[in-house]
Symmetry: C2
Subunit: 559 residues, 2 copies
């Protein structure tokens, strides 16, 4: 573990977060020392039926568990901390995080019953960590949650900088300034490789300041004669602060609705990241008792999530809050790709209730800005750091590609830009970087309590079942003479509505009977043959009749 | 059927197209005369698992079949013509359409084997139809397909104007100008009610001219040193024309790839709606033989549809066309809400192949504009027509609401604006309009060959099956002594991967056995009780162990 062993290579790779949005997990290894940056989760793609969340495959880390010095977390969002309860169960190493981030992590670990057995270490932007041959230091960044940091990892092979998620907000909320000077200083010292956030690499220009949203919110609150409901990401603590600021400016009280919103306001409030005067928060039960123009409801549901507070209000199924005609509802978020229809449906329902709804892309609504930097900010980071090598991270492939083009534009040698998939390694030795061999990587699917017990076969079955349902065919054959003793009975689920399709199912029955008789006349009596033949004959018949391919499950018993 | 019966009411309603995008079908009835405008389909919502397409419930029309004088089609897009093959089977009435529209309809009816038995009547913008007491005339509009018209329906109660889909394009492709003068003239004569397209009612300003796209395409074709692939909607004939224009200007030949693209180019070309010089079109097989900078591939797949031409090319599974590094791929379309992820995945794959991909919202890419008018154009239509009553149509509820606000803004009396759901009628008598009673309406789901045989129960089952799969439990009991003769056997599909979960399934087996023994000791032997108890006990156990709720199907046989 000497700092000077010239044989030691420096390895840099992602186990999650490249070629995808979510489950961020980056690994920096020098010799026998591994430092992990972030440990996030991803929400399932639409073809991952029934899956709750997805985390990275950490086989490489568990295979090298003695080398892992710790996990550094850049900020408290789910795609950076959400995997920890699963990862720490298999790899109990110290977790390093700033105060708010640690507060949110501890909330999670408590729920998972892991608070006692895990080691969590508080850092701040001035901390310096000796992690074997790797020295970690930090710099403050702007993002949609306070206490976000970038990470500077000094190794004997050179310095690696990981930006975390960032934008450059020159007028940040609650004085959460980025430390431009320190970033410049790191760049000046010389950086071997930069790993930088690509989320908005497709967007020209600068992302507007979060403060702009505050101005707009105050204006809307002021104009509204009735209640104002604001839905936003619970994780956007700056946005939450601005809702309180606007409420104060317009003499309204704030009710917090939705589990994750209550959770974040509680933790961020207790740790001093929200500046909320005594008495500003009211209980949801009090909303109906107060004058309508004195109330703000701050809630979850900005993505149209089916069980969220705003969705329930929109459907008039919320137990405590009704939307009344004339109320103003602000959706202070842009739909994440895939959620557009759900958000649209919520807006429709709110309009039907007579609400005045403010929604749509931030550029139109004025009540949302991104937490990620656009092209000019990404170029600013590249200019400050002036890395020799560049790895765009945190984005779908097309975003990484666009970010790579920005890197070229600011003068990084195209041969020194690496666009990686998860598991692709970049190795540095003697100042030279090249693509190395692959390490194990992939998606671990979590369904209920099951971690990794749902694989491709199960997903394929769910897909099939979801399209055309299933038919179970039950027949009892006689052992003696091979005649049909009972059945065939056909049970249909998700295929056709039985009452409407008696003729079809009767005919299906006849097909099964005929097929079995024919097989038995031909003395075919191996189990597998009988089943395959029934399946094929029935499948063919049903496809001809309906152009559908239900799953067919023949159950043939012998008595 | 007299034109002068003062008892006759005028009824206006939608069977599809309001509160939704798709399956447009509007009904105008005066006394015993019914005129239908459009007969479209809708693509299924994401919770309609396994459904192929959705059409309106036409019970009202079949119940009143003797009164239906015909179906007028405004233009040849699927959401206006796609329902015809299903509707005409149950309601064989004349279909009126302009030349290109009729060409596209006849293609559909031919495929459905309905060409012989249906009656189709060619109209043009100057046609006047006497449909009982209703007189129909037409006006040319701008839309993303030529030959689009709006409909003017003169009834004894007053004039109803239906815009069809429209924008105002002052520099249209192929001289397809809207007939502003005629629209103005109709307005001058006095219009009782306007039904107008709300698709872009949320968008401020004017939709840019389709011609802008042509300029951009030519520029990109010119800059590209290699092949250019353009994916766009097959139904956008103007866009297709401009691809040919840009190809001519840059001395490239065009290969047409994708079934619906070939279909539209053939029909529109034969009918003279595409201006394509001899020899411009090459076969897909010739692409590889030609100099790369002399070729354009025009294809389907702009929405990332899994089986489309562009998706296959992106995945390197297209039989004839490979994407080579340095090729330019233009996605000349904006993703329809819900398709963003599929399009994103296609762009990623294309980038991975080394293509230069031009994509994103039209305002960024420059290669797409909408075919629907934005707020200023909607106000222009309202100003030209100056209707007494106004019904926003063709849009989700929020779009109808925004359109209603535009109506108010230009001076329509708010009490004379009706936002309707499907089946809501507006009745006019003596110059006064009011909401009338409801008529039957709804979604008819088409799955394969089945029309309407998949209902809520089947969809609920598919949803359940898609989330956690199914367990089939097979047990044989003895008739004599009620002991278990064979089983329980548990078959799992889409629940857990069996090899990984033997312990769980063994335990599940024991639970079933114990439950049955207990019931039999208690002399419970009704079929239904046995099944319910097995289902409950097993469901409880599995939920505790896995937090999943698979469908459980107990099959208990007696021998």
């Amino acid at each position: 573990m000497s700092k000077k062993n010239p044989q030691d290579k420096l390895l840099v790779f992602a186990l999650g977060g490249v070629g995808e949005i979510g489950k961020n997990m980056y690994v920096i290894q020098h010799g026998n020392d591994i430092v992990v940056v972030d440990s996030g989760l991803k929400f399932p793609e639409e073809d991952m039926l029934g899956i709750d969340i997805v985390i990275p495959d950490i086989t490489y880390l568990t295979d090298n568990r003695d080398k892992v010095r710790g996990i550094i977390i850049t900020h408290g969002h789910e795609d950076h901390i959400g995997g920890l309860p699963y990862v720490l169960r298999h790899l109990n190493v110290p977790v390093y995080a700033t105060r708010l981030t640690l507060g949110l992590i501890e909330g999670k670990l408590k729920e998972a019953g892991l608070l006692g057995e895990t080691k969590r270490i508080l850092i701040n932007a001035d901390s310096v960590l000796e992690l074997g041959s790797i020295t970690a230091s930090f710099f403050k960044t702007n993002h949609s949650i306070p206490d976000s940091v970038g990470v500077c990892l000094d190794t004997p092979e050179g310095t690696i900088v990981h930006t975390g998620d960032f934008k450059f907000d020159f007028t940040p909320v609650n004085d959460q300034y980025a430390d431009l000077q320190r970033i410049a200083e790191i760049g000046k010292r010389g950086v071997l490789a930069l790993l930088s956030d690509s989320t908005n690499a497709e967007r020209p220009g600068m992302t507007p300041s979060e403060s702009n949203v505050g101005v707009e919110l105050t204006e809307i609150f002021r104009k509204s004669q009735q209640r104002v409901v604001v839905a936003t990401f619970a994780s956007n603590v700056h946005r939450i602060q601005q809702v309180f600021n606007a409420a104060m400016a317009t003499k309204r009280k704030v009710a917090i609705v939705g589990r994750s919103m209550v959770n974040v306001v509680t933790i961020a409030g207790e740790l001093g990241y929200l500046n909320i005067p005594e008495g500003m928060i009211i209980e949801p039960e009090e909303v109906n008792k107060m004058a309508a123009d004195r109330v703000v409801v701050l809630c979850t549901g900005s993505q149209g999530e089916p069980m969220s507070a705003l969705t329930r209000m929109a459907r008039s199924t919320h137990r405590k809050i009704d939307i009344l005609p004339g109320d103003t509802v602000i959706i202070a978020a842009t739909p994440i790709p895939g959620n557009e229809r759900d958000v649209g449906r919520t807006v429709d329902e709110l309009f039907r209730l007579g609400a005045n709804v403010i929604y749509g892309p931030g550029s139109v609504s004025g009540v949302h800005v991104s937490g990620h930097g656009s092209q000019e900010e990404l170029k600013l980071m590249l200019n400050l750091i002036k890395p020799e090598y560049f790895m765009p991270i945190h984005g779908e492939y097309r975003m990484l590609r666009q970010h790579a083009k920005l890197g070229e534009a600011v003068g990084v040698d195209p041969d020194k830009i690496f666009i990686c998939d998860i598991g692709d390694t970049v190795e540095f030795q003697g100042g030279v970087g090249r693509k190395g061999s692959k390490v194990p990587s992939g998606n671990v699917l979590i369904d209920g309590l099951g971690v990794g017990d749902v694989g491709n076969i199960v997903l394929r079955d769910r897909k099939l079942l979801s399209q055309d349902g299933i038919l179970v065919v039950v027949v009892t054959l006689s052992k003696q003479d091979g005649t049909i003793k009972s059945g065939p009975d056909i049970i249909s689920r998700g295929f056709v509505y039985v009452r409407e399709s008696e003729g079809l199912l009767d005919e299906a029955n006849r097909i099964v009977t005929t097929t079995l008789h024919k097989l038995m006349n031909d003395k075919v009596n191996e189990w597998a043959s009988l089943k395959t033949n029934v399946k094929d004959a029935l499948g063919r018949f049903l496809y001809e009749q309906t152009r559908r391919r239900p799953m067919i499950l023949p159950i043939i018993m012998e008595v």
